[in-house]
């Protein structure tokens, strides 16, 4: 469990980083928190020729909460975002999800942007970004772009990031008015990737009844599965909509049937909790 040799780069700024990335192309992997990359390296499941360690890049460790939402820089650790005082007010779903990400020691090191860029469909944060319709801000040698969440997640562990492109920040839009969120998940052990998990966002109409609701489901498809969930005097229809949209598979921890059942159950629970949150 030792990685093969690679060239190690430790740029001090974004410009330098994207220059190195441009030169190394598809041979490069970016090291931020390292919570996924280092095990993959040690197990020789990835064998990049270049590791670009961005931990010394200045100006990427920020977390900013404004009226529009929360912007998280590429070096902000999960725990740093979790502790942001405005988080609960501006976008509570982020905090609800971060609590479920692995364990505190991993959250002290792992980065929010890294988790998004890793694009693991079983992870919580991609589901949050997808549900909220957030975006990823990138830089590359020729400039940069903003990639909407709907286009960002392409497949399992596959994002829209191109070789040479560095995700510099992620934007989570603020909670709309009269809205609430919840994240419900079931894992085999505390901190494990979920067997099933559902993030929910519910917006109430003027009558106090849910007007618009959607969920994002983890681990039941190649990317986070976002489903608009109708409220018809209850969430039964929502469970049906979720069951129709997801594509769970058997693995050694659970059958596809169980995952499908569980995702439906968790969707109803999460929507119920989110509705209560919205009603305050």
């Amino acid at each position: 469990m030792k990685p093969p040799a690679f060239d190690y780069h430790a740029p001090a700024g974004v410009d330098e980083a994207v220059e190195i990335l441009a030169e190394a192309g598809a041979e490069a992997k970016i090291l931020a928190g390292g919570q996924s990359l280092i095990p993959l390296l040690n197990m020789r499941l990835v064998t990049p020729g270049h590791i670009v360690d961005v931990n010394r890049v200045a100006g990427l460790g920020f977390v900013e909460a404004g009226p529009d939402g929360v912007r998280v820089g590429a070096l902000a650790r999960h725990s740093q975002v979790e502790r942001l005082p405005e988080l609960r007010r501006v976008q509570p779903l982020l905090g609800q999800a971060l609590r479920l990400v692995a364990h505190p020691v991993i959250r002290n090191r792992g980065t929010v942007v890294g988790s998004i860029a890793h694009a693991d469909p079983a992870a919580e944060l991609p589901a949050v970004l997808a549900l909220l319709g957030g975006s990823v801000q990138t830089r590359h040698a020729a400039g940069g772009r903003t990639i909407p969440a709907a286009e960002f997640f392409v497949g399992p562990l596959e994002s829209a990031l191109e070789p040479g492109e560095l995700a510099v920040s992620v934007f989570f839009p603020a909670l709309p008015p009269r809205s609430g969120t919840a994240f419900a998940e079931t894992a085999r052990r505390h901190g494990d990737y979920a067997i099933a998990g559902v993030a929910a966002l519910v917006t109430l109409g003027p009558d106090g009844e849910p007007e618009r609701a959607a969920v994002a489901c983890v681990g039941v498809g190649p990317v986070p599965i976002v489903v608009e969930t109708p409220y018809r005097a209850g969430w039964d229809g929502a469970a049906e909509a979720v069951a129709a949209a997801i594509e769970p598979e058997d693995d050694i921890h659970a059958t596809a049937a169980y995952r499908r059942h569980l995702t439906g159950v968790l969707a109803v629970r999460a929507l119920g909790q989110a509705t209560e949150e919205a009603r305050g």
Partner: protein, 800 residues
């Protein structure tokens, strides 16, 4: 009086050192050593057609590549079959490096030695082995069909076949008023110590001596194996077990291939060599345990008394049998638990499969045996509509019936005779602790809230402290310090504490003056090893006996100095004094000086023992017995001593998500006299945690090709602390009449009944018969669906 220490919950003396990173584990040693790594088979079963190292040899930093062909005769021989048994007619062990055929994923094919582990792994990746795949044999039921063979010369893949019978069980079952027959399944798990295996060897070419550090449970036997295999004089070989980060059975197997190959390469290269196992290697190349398919037939009367029991076991032994058939023998014999069964017939076949070999893991076959018996007790209760505790009580051996001969042969080759116990008292205590009799009220309360809870229990008897022997050495030096050594090893049990407690109490010294060394053949070369819950019983008693020798000698020497009768002396806090006259006293350190008559005064203390300072009688030789205030003794029991326990749990199963939570877990434990209740409870907690792993989380997910799909801590679900319930423990102390301290083993106890207990409680909550462990939420969900389709068995209680 010296403070009482035996039986006191004193904190573990080793913890401050270990908790601040002061431990010295295998990989902390030899930072400059060459590193070894192994090319391991990616196939479950294949013929090796060729090995191409042409690219590999180009790597800078490579020192050597070895294949089986490179090994000298003795080194290349199959590894020893450690415990032969007449029923093991087809015992097979691996070669240290595969010879022609690989029989499981992970079997070592080539050894690489390089300047560091990174380079060694780079070289491994460049060695091209040409494998011709052979049909993989996976699962004992497939294997026993015999259509494909793991070993070409083992027909039907049956390594061993053993029947033990007391009375005529089949006849008793036929004649019984009630009979039941059913199948049970237990899946694989593994010891999985957090520190894997590891070996570090140093060769001194000047004096042709070898020192080997290895993360083992049996350093003395590793030493003998290395000396024999490498054809070295035994006195030239030292083996040291440094701090060991857990063993749980897997490190009792020896010599591992690496324990031969690393020292051999070290001598051959004239360089220090170290190999540190990584986690994937541990999963695929050490050992697993537990997997059995069991068929039970039982006949009983209306009171639930078992008249005849027949247990048929298919035991999955993996690819090799280095540890013999100890595991299925223990299952066979310890299935009987605290019960007197009318007639008993147990038969097992030990089956080869193309998977990692099976050797003892904490519990060592007992969890499976207890699962069979306790599932049987629950089924009888359900069948008769009796309380589950009543059925057990109806079958208990009574306190007046000890010693109780079960009529079988135990794992030590000795008769299975229980020495002592009080099973009815244990059950009463358990019932009161878990409020067994009022559970229906709690079930109703939970049901009113839409919650589903169940209660379960399990009983076991554990043969502990198996022979043949252990020894202890105790030496008081002229600085007053007491040095204790024993040959068996420590893997976290707390030996530095409990052995010191025994010596402090027996000798009358402060515990702070005592140091304990284990598993170092330089200090004590004779030992068996740490396994089978035997260290406290075996070395504890040996050390006590050795300490009594030291005490006797100290009193003799002091009596002479004080001109008193040895019978009038006592030792208190390291001072030998005349009882009732504290002014007539001599420190033990001075006694140590006087016990070694000297000519040369190398320090001030020594000066007291020189010929002009301490003139004795001119008519007697100065030395009357062995010099030094030290003693050595051994303890060898006639047979094992039998600890026992009973566990109960309350579980909640989520009616919707099928999640399973243990709400309460209660342990009643009887290991005879307690040396240190804190350490015993720690052992129980750790054991229960591993048991919860086996009951709810852990399995080795082999696919039909013999690939282990979950060979990492990400997918092999060893529970975290967050998955383990609070464990409530109560002790009974029924002393063993077999040994001077009256103690029994405690190391494995916690793990033994947990699967049975959790199955019992889930069955009670769900009203569905549980016959397979572990059980996950997904499994329970499937079982509910099967029940809804009428395809799963309901308990009689729930079927109404």
């Amino acid at each position: 009086m010296t403070t009482k220490l035996f039986g006191e919950p004193i904190p573990r003396r080793e913890d401050p050192r270990l908790l601040v990173g002061g431990g010295r584990y295998l990989d902390d040693l030899g930072p400059g050593a060459l590193a070894a790594a192994f090319v391991r088979s990616p196939h479950a079963h294949a013929r090796i057609a060729g090995v191409d190292v042409s690219d590999a040899v180009e790597v800078d930093g490579l020192v050597a590549i070895y294949l089986w062909e490179d090994l000298p005769d003795r080194v290349g021989e199959p590894l020893p079959l450690l415990i032969p048994h007449p029923a093991l007619t087809h015992g097979r062990t691996a070669h240290p490096l595969a010879r022609d055929v690989v029989r499981h994923v992970g079997e070592p094919v080539a050894m690489v030695v390089a300047v560091d582990r990174y380079t060694a792994e780079d070289v491994c990746a460049l060695i091209r082995v040409d494998y011709e795949p052979l049909p993989p044999v996976v699962g004992p039921e497939n294997a026993v069909q015999g259509s494909a063979l793991v070993h070409a010369d083992v027909p039907g893949n049956v390594g061993a076949h053993l029947v033990q019978e007391v009375g005529n069980a089949r006849e008793a079952i036929e004649e019984a008023e009630h009979t039941l027959a059913f199948r049970l399944d237990v899946e694989r798990s593994a010891s999985m110590p957090l520190e894997g295996r590891g070996v570090y060897a140093r060769w001194d070419s000047g004096d042709s001596s070898l020192r080997v550090y290895t993360s083992t449970q049996a350093s003395t036997s590793v030493r003998m194996a290395i000396a024999a295999t490498l054809e070295l004089p035994l006195p030239s070989v030292e083996v040291v077990a440094p701090d060991v980060g857990g063993g749980f059975g897997v490190k009792i197997v020896h010599p591992w291939p690496e324990e031969i190959l690393v020292p051999w390469a070290c001598i051959r290269l004239g360089r220090e060599v170290k190999w540190t196992e990584d986690r994937r290697e541990h999963f695929i190349s050490s050992a697993h345990e537990r997997a059995q398919v069991q068929y039970v037939r039982v006949g009983f009367d209306s009171a639930g008394r078992v008249l005849g029991l027949e247990l048929n076991i298919l035991h999955d032994h993996g690819a090799y049998t280095p540890y013999g058939i100890i595991v299925p023998i223990i299952t066979s014999t310890q299935a009987l638990g605290p019960y007197k069964i009318g007639a008993y017939r147990v038969e097992f076949q030990s089956i080869y499969t193309n998977t990692v070999q099976v050797t003892p893991y904490r519990g060592a076959g007992r969890p499976q045996g207890v699962f069979a018996m306790e599932r049987t007790m629950d089924r009888i209760a359900d069948h008769l509509g009796l309380d589950r505790t009543e059925v057990r009580a109806a079958n208990f051996i009574q306190p007046s019936e000890f010693p109780y001969d079960q009529g079988l042969t135990f794992q030590d080759g000795r008769p299975l005779i229980y020495d002592s116990g009080d099973y009815p008292a244990s059950l009463e205590l358990l019932k009161s602790l878990i409020d067994w009799d009022s559970f229906e009220e709690r079930r109703a309360e939970a049901a009113a809230e839409g919650r589903r809870i169940g209660i379960g229990l399990g009983c076991y008897v554990e043969g502990t402290g198996v022979g043949p022997y252990e020894g202890g050495h105790v030496q008081v030096t002229s600085d007053g310090r007491v040095h204790v050594s024993t040959g068996l090893t420590s893997q976290g049990q707390g030996h530095e504490t409990v052995f010191a407690q025994i010596v402090a109490e027996e000798l009358g010294v402060d515990i702070s003056d005592i140091s304990v060394v284990t598993g170092d053949t330089r200090r004590f070369p004779y030992a068996v090893g740490t396994f089978a819950s035997r260290a406290a019983v075996m070395s504890g008693n040996a050390i006590a006996l050795a300490t009594r020798k030291v005490r006797d000698k100290a009193l003799r020497v002091a009596a002479e100095a004080l001109e008193a009768d040895p019978g009038d002396l006592e030792i208190v806090s390291g001072i030998v004094r005349v009882r009732g006259n504290p002014t007539a006293a001599i420190p033990l350190k001075t006694v140590a000086v006087l016990s070694n008559p000297l000519r040369y005064a190398f320090d001030a203390e020594a000066a007291r023992a020189t010929q002009f300072a301490a003139p004795g009688s001119p008519d007697e030789p100065p030395l009357k017995e062995e010099p030094g205030l030290e003693g050595r003794d051994y303890y060898s029991p006639i047979r094992s001593t039998f600890a026992s326990g009973m566990h109960a749990a309350v579980v909640e199963t989520d009616p919707v998500t099928a999640e399973i939570h243990i709400l309460r877990y209660v342990v009643v434990h009887d290991c005879g006299k307690l040396i240190n209740p804190l350490i015993v409870e720690g052992q129980i907690h750790g054991g229960v945690a591993q048991g919860v792993g086996g009951a709810l989380y852990e399995r080795m997910a082999y696919d039909e090709h013999g690939q282990l799909l979950n060979a990492s801590f990400m997918d092999f679900l060893m529970p975290y602390a967050t998955e383990i319930p609070r464990i409530e423990t109560a002790h009974l102390e029924t002393p063993s009449p077999l040994n001077p301290l009256g103690i029994k083993g405690a190391g494995e106890a916690g793990v033994i009944p947990v699967s049975a207990v959790v199955a019992s409680a889930i069955e009670d909550a769900e009203g569905l018969v549980i016959s397979r462990m572990p059980i996950s939420p997904s499994d329970l969900y499937d079982l509910r669906l099967a029940a809804a389709r009428g395809e799963a068995e309901r308990t009689s209680r729930s079927a109404g």
